[in-house]
């Protein structure tokens, strides 16, 4: 969709260069080997998260498959069901690797979903502020400023204290924490775009306000926001893990990586390190992969660095 849209906007350019902007974007992106590694890593993490029931040796939440006698097995030991606990097992005899695959589903799902909702709300608020200006603008931006002057974890704590626990509640908290970043980014680029000639032309054609905002202004404001999305998804995943680790985020029925790590914390002092260690590594891989991709996207999408 993206490719065809851009070709339609600039057919002349495409014809002259023989390549679509999207392809150039891909080529630019691939220039950094580290970023490609990040993308591949993220794809792998996302794949095991989506395919968790197929690739896990065990369903860690099916009690029939668990055996308490196999609790706290060190990494690499064989299980009675015939597979190996490559990363060890936890106190209930759950395979850590399977637990990580299922946990990634929840962590990535919550992180990405909350980032997308915040993205939608932030875009709406930012575009409204930039386009209409005046009192509405200063009202929205004042709220954004005040919110950004508090650390994310404090705001999340306030919300969770008010709302209580649950998947939906933590998503609300994560969205509230994040929307302000999107709003500020969209507003600043929309303020620049608003005075450009194509917007004026759209006005002269008497296009409706919604059409100008969403079909003309919005697509041109997106590149910097896309970078914010990657950073925010990583933030959201880390924040959710932190809150779940503290026991005030997700309930035990949704075992995200943070909860897995919290579960292993009790056994850490007795030297049973793998219950906390490996879920943490998985969390780290997911966050670093997203950050690597975001870093390169920032360079690729930055018009000042374009050749």
């Amino acid at each position: 969709m993206r490719v065809s849209g851009e070709i339609a906007i600039a057919p002349a350019v495409v014809a002259a260069e023989g390549e679509s902007p999207f392809r150039r974007l891909v080529a630019d992106f691939c220039e950094s080997r580290l970023a490609v590694v990040g993308l591949v890593l993220f794809a792998a993490v996302a794949a095991v998260a989506i395919l968790a029931p197929l690739v896990s040796p065990q369903n860690p939440y099916d009690l029939r498959q668990l055996n308490l006698l196999e609790g706290k097995q060190p990494p690499g030991s064989p299980s009675m069901a015939g597979f190996r606990f490559w990363l060890g097992s936890d106190d209930q005899g759950r395979d850590i690797l399977s637990g990580i695959f299922y946990g990634l589903r929840i962590s990535l799902g919550v992180g990405i979903l909350s980032a997308l909702i915040a993205f939608g709300i932030g875009i709406l608020a930012g575009l409204t502020a930039a386009y209409f200006g005046g009192l509405l603008d200063s009202l929205i931006m004042r709220v954004v400023d005040i919110q950004l002057s508090f650390p994310a974890i404090l705001i999340a704590l306030i919300l969770l204290a008010v709302l209580g626990q649950g998947v939906d509640k933590i998503i609300v908290a994560l969205v509230t924490v994040q929307w302000a970043y999107y709003a500020r980014t969209v507003r600043s680029s929309a303020l620049v775009e608003r005075h450009k000639e194509y917007v004026e032309a759209a006005h002269c054609l008497a296009l409706s306000r919604g059409r100008i905002l969403f079909r003309h202004l919005l697509p041109n404001c997106l590149p910097p926001v896309i970078v914010v999305v990657t950073v925010q998804v990583a933030h959201a995943i880390a924040l959710e893990a932190t809150l779940s680790f503290l026991g005030i985020g997700l309930p035990i029925t949704s075992p995200s990586l943070g909860l897995l790590i919290a579960n292993g914390f009790r056994y850490l002092l007795s030297g049973t390190y793998w219950i906390s260690f490996f879920p943490g590594i998985a969390l780290l891989i997911a966050i670093v992969a997203i950050n690597l991709v975001g870093d390169q996207l920032r360079d690729v999408l930055n018009p000042r660095l374009q050749k």
Partner: protein, 325 residues
């Protein structure tokens, strides 16, 4: 200048008012205040007495006024678990948290600025690259997991440092702190480093960017042309100029450090107000949660106001810009 400060002060009061409304709405309107403020173990008679005492039979706007009047006088309810005033309970734990936060800030400055200057002065050196990769890790690693790994390596595997708790405290010149005893220091090292890690990474990046920018400026060239020794150029001329942004960020981060101490204190069983908060969440001790959050909000508003005020004193441009809009 005075006008700016007064306007800024008014804004702070407005924010405080809005926050009190949010907390009030959260506790009294969305949730059932009877459940939130009265212990679930209370019997019917106690409940009714408490409802009357808390004014829960009044209309909502009057309840808000009662809540506000109590909050202003520092009466934020009594803890279910400790049967003590919630605010006093938190204030009692505050020194431990402040000690941890300050130790983390000092560590961040002492480690971050020299490393950042090194990477700024020799950006191509292998050691600089290693430091920069380390700083990326410092940004990406979740604080709580780093804390666990610190315990695992230094307390469980190597056995060098104690894993949890606050050590002995000593009193020097009326200040009681664990930095005055060896045992206290040994307990402080791991949590302080854990809390500082993110800020170390931040300061390395800031300092590096600052050094690289400043080195290109004319006054550095001039200082060199004047024949000053390189050491003087770097430690006097360059350092002075990069300190302003670094100190600003540090001032703003102080609040963040205190807020994030919640995580570090939980892992290291540090008896500060962050750990109290998490315990209160687990015991559903809501008056303490409300008191903690209100206290933190007040503190943040105060910190933000002070930073803004200091800024307008130090940098006249801020005042002009605010007058323009």
């Amino acid at each position: 200048m005075t006008v700016f400060l007064i306007r800024r002060l008014l804004q702070s009061v407005a924010v405080l008012f809005v926050m009190s409304l949010i907390v009030f709405a959260g506790v009294y309107a969305i949730g059932n205040p009877v459940d939130i403020l009265i212990s679930p173990e209370a019997d019917q008679g106690e409940r009714e007495r408490a409802i009357r005492a808390l004014g829960l039979d009044l209309p909502l706007h009057q309840q808000y006024l009662v809540f506000l009047r109590k909050a202003v006088t520092g009466n934020l309810g009594e803890s279910f678990v400790f049967s003590e005033p919630a605010l006093g309970l938190i204030l009692k734990r505050m020194p431990a948290t402040l000690e941890l936060a300050l130790a983390a800030m000092v560590l961040a400055v002492v480690v971050g600025i020299p490393l950042g200057m090194w990477t700024g002065l020799y950006p191509g050196a292998p050691s600089s690259r290693t430091i920069m990769v380390g700083s990326i890790l410092g940004f990406s690693l979740p604080t709580f997991w780093v804390g666990l790994m610190l315990i695992m390596v230094f307390a469980v595997m190597l056995g060098w440092l104690p894993s949890t708790g606050r050590g002995q405290t000593g009193t020097v010149l009326g200040v009681t702190s664990s930095i005055f005893t060896v045992d206290g220091l040994r307990h402080l090292v791991l949590p302080a480093f854990n809390l500082a890690l993110f800020r170390i990474a931040l300061i390395i990046r800031l300092t590096r960017a600052g050094v690289r920018e400043t080195l290109l400026q004319d006054f550095v060239k001039y200082a060199r042309a004047k024949g000053l020794r390189e050491r003087r150029v770097i430690f006097v001329h360059v350092l002075k100029n990069i300190l302003i942004p670094v100190l600003t960020v540090l001032g703003l981060e102080l609040g963040g450090v205190i807020a994030f101490a919640v995580v570090t204190e939980t892992i290291f069983a540090w008896p500060g107000m962050g750990k109290l908060l998490v315990d209160s969440f687990n015991h559903l001790d809501r008056p303490v949660i409300v008191a903690y959050l209100l206290l933190m909000v007040c503190m943040f508003i105060a910190i933000n106001f002070l930073v803004d005020a200091l800024y307008s004193v130090l940098d006249p441009r801020v005042r002009i810009v605010t007058r323009g809009t």
